[in-house]
Every structure is written in C-alpha cells, then in structure tokens.
C-alpha cells in the first residue's frame, strides 16, 4: 500500500463509515457485533486498498465483508460474554423516532439486509443483489415486503385504532 493511496482511504472511510455502521447494526441488532464487523471490514479494505478502490463501488465490498463477518463476530461475543443479552437491544434512548427503529429491527433478517443496503447505504438493486448473493428480483420483492410490513406497523388503520380504543 502506498502512502499516496492512504488519503483516499481516509476520505472514503469518513464518508461511508457512519452509514455502513448503521446498516450493519440493522442487520446484527447488536452494537458490539456491528462495530467489530465494520472495523474488520475497513481494515481488510485498507490492506487491499489498491484493489478495493479500483472497484465500481468500494462501499459494496466493505458492506459485504462486514455482513459476512458479523455472524462470526457475534458468535465470538457470545462466547466471551455469555450474559451480554442486554447488548443486543438497540439504544433507543436518543432517537427521535424509536418506533421506526423497533419496526425495522423486528423485520426478518433478509428484509433487514435489503432495507440496510437499499435505504441506509443507498445501493441500487443490482449492487444490493451482488452484495447479498441473491437475484435483483429477490431484492425488489424483499424490499416491497419490508416496506409493506413497516407501513402496516407504523400506520395503523383507523379501524385498528378504534378497535384498540385509542
């Protein structure tokens, strides 16, 4: 790795890190697992920056590696901290719209992955499909189902509200 390429990595890291972390957090629903996986992914990117930076979307490479590593990171945390159940809860104390956080966290894994990549990272359908190893049609279907489920949860119908007496 040349000294001249490091600034490019630095800029890439600062521009993408918050979104990548939040996207992986959506998938893992665990801060420590997300932090470990994302840090490892950026370290790997830095080690191979000449190759990674030459790709069409380096962020897609990073998110793919991070998501792949998230599972093993979470396993490692569970081994080291068997009582770490509390860490798996998203910190909602400082967010203005916790209902959305809870609703997204309650989605099935594949739908969370698609929401994370398509909405939080902003990857297109093709990039999302490549990152997750699924077809573009599957990405579209999962996103459609995810948004429908979120809409249903976040926008109760008038009948539902009446039925609940609220």
């Amino acid at each position: 790795m040349s000294e001249e390429r490091s600034p490019a990595f630095h800029e890439f890291f600062e521009a993408t890190y918050p979104a990548v972390y939040r996207a992986v957090l959506v998938v893992t629903r665990n801060r420590q697992a997300a932090e470990d996986a994302v840090a490892n992914a950026y370290l790997r990117a830095l080690e191979r920056w000449d190759a990674v930076s030459g790709q069409e979307k380096p962020i897609a490479w990073v998110i793919r590696v991070a998501l792949n590593d998230a599972v093993s990171s979470w396993r490692r945390i569970q081994r080291l901290l068997p009582l770490a159940a509390g860490m798996s809860i998203l910190d909602e104390s400082r967010v203005a719209d916790p209902d959305v956080i809870r609703a997204v966290a309650a989605l099935p894994l594949r739908q969370r992955q698609v929401v994370a990549l398509r909405i939080l990272i902003g990857l297109d359908t093709r990039g999302t499909a490549l990152s997750l190893g699924i077809t573009e049609g599957a990405v579209t279907a999962h996103l459609h189902r995810a948004l429908a489920r979120l809409r249903q949860r976040l926008e109760p119908t008038p009948n539902t509200r009446n039925h609940d007496g609220r």
Partner: protein, 236 residues
C-alpha cells in the same frame, strides 16, 4: 406514506443512532499511513497471542524465540522463497530430520508463510508433501530447520479444504489446505480471537502461529471480497 417518504423516515431515524469513533482508522492518513495501522493491528494480535515472550521449538532440541510474529505474513518475495528452498530443499536441515528433506523426495516448492523471524514452507507434487519449519536471526542466517513428510488425503484443488493442522507443541500450530480455485485471500480465525491471514501459492494456503490454537473458521474470499469457501471448526 409512500415508499420515498417511508424510506426517508427510516434514514432520519437511524441517523440519530450514535456511531462509535475509530480514531485508529481516521488517523491512518494523518500519521504514518496504512503501514502504521497494520503494524498497530498486528501488535495487538501479537500482544494477545504471545502474552510476553513465547518460544518456538523447531526441532525439539533448540529453543528459539519467535521475534515479531505478525497476523499478516511477510510477502513471498524472492528472498524468502530462496531462503525456503535453500534451507528446506537442500540446505541446513538438522541431522534428526535429514531423511525427510523435500529434496529427498524431489518435491517442488509451493508456498512459504513467513512471519517475524520464522517461516513454514510447503513442498508438494499435489499428493506427496513435505512441510519445513525454519527461523533465522537478525542477519538473515538460518539457525535450524525441521521438516516432515506426508501424503495429502485429497487432491481436489477446486475448493477450500483442510489438509494439515496442529503443530504438535504448545508453542506452535499451523494449517495447510487447498485454497480453492477462486480464492485470492484466506483468513484463519482462531479461538483466541486472532484472525491470521494465510499465505497462498500454487493452489494452497498456509498459516502458522506461535501457540496451540483451535481454529474456529477458515474463510476464503475471491477478488471481489465475496466468500468463495468457508470451513467451520475444521478438524480431522
């Protein structure tokens, strides 16, 4: 609420979630570039693995220090390969293991995994194999080496596999296998938490570390970063 409005609401909600700082990554440019970061990451792994000063016993008789072992291997440059071939092929091999020198079997060099002042080299024709462990001092002079001969249980090089593991002592362990057709990197995840990047060559991967360490996972990735092979807790 249409899809765009809902998507914006999701983005806005998650933007409130705090992001942990990574000063070591931010500082990679401001300080000494990527090499500094790699050295720092490697030093952390060394601190965990070595916990001070660990020893490597190359031939069971002489005790040699493992100096500056790193999770990322030395480049397989001409110097390291020449050292492996000279040492293990027909050079300085202890009398104890003289009969198992790679040259005795006519096995060609395949890959060498150098870390700090030690290395393990693999010589194989695809089936018959000889592994050779050696170390050198600060001047580059090889102190001693030992090698062992065996036969691989599989010759299928198309996919990631696990052929040789366990170094036989508490201060040394290694793993060797086929890397698979698509792999450009292979990482070995140890129970200690260390991630060891393997050396690749001629369709094989090889990694060693200065402790007896159970392998949790071996992951091969292709040039795009996608996983091309994965072994979970491999063992014989």
């Amino acid at each position: 609420m249409d899809d765009d409005a809902l998507s914006e609401r999701i983005r806005s909600a998650f933007a409130d979630i705090s992001v942990p700082t990574r000063p070591e990554l931010v500082g990679a440019r401001k300080n000494r570039g990527g090499r500094w970061l790699l050295l720092r990451a490697a030093s952390l792994v060394v601190a965990v693995l070595l916990a001070g000063f660990l020893l490597l016993r190359p031939d069971g008789s002489a005790v040699q220090p493992v100096d500056a072992w790193t999770a990322v291997p030395l480049p397989q440059d001409s110097v390291l390969i020449a050292r492996a071939e000279a040492t293990c092929g027909n050079g300085v091999v202890s009398d104890k293991t003289l009969a198992s020198r790679p040259i005795d079997f006519g096995l060609p060099f395949s890959v060498v995994d150098g870390r700090g002042n030690g290395a393990v080299a693999l010589f194989t024709d695809g089936t018959n194999n000889a592994t050779c462990r050696f170390y050198w001092d600060r001047s580059g002079t090889v102190g001693s080496a030992t090698s062992s001969y065996g036969r691989f249980t599989s010759t299928d090089s198309s996919r990631l596999d696990f052929l040789i593991g366990a170094g036989g002592s508490d201060s040394f362990d290694m793993v060797i296998g086929h890397s698979g057709t698509l792999a450009t990197t292979v990482d070995v995840e140890l129970e200690s938490g260390a991630d060891v990047t393997a050396s690749l060559g001629h369709g094989f991967y090889l990694a060693w570390w200065p402790e007896r360490g159970k392998i949790l996972r071996i992951v091969a990735r292709d040039a795009t970063g996608a996983i091309s092979g994965e072994l979970d807790q491999p063992h014989f």
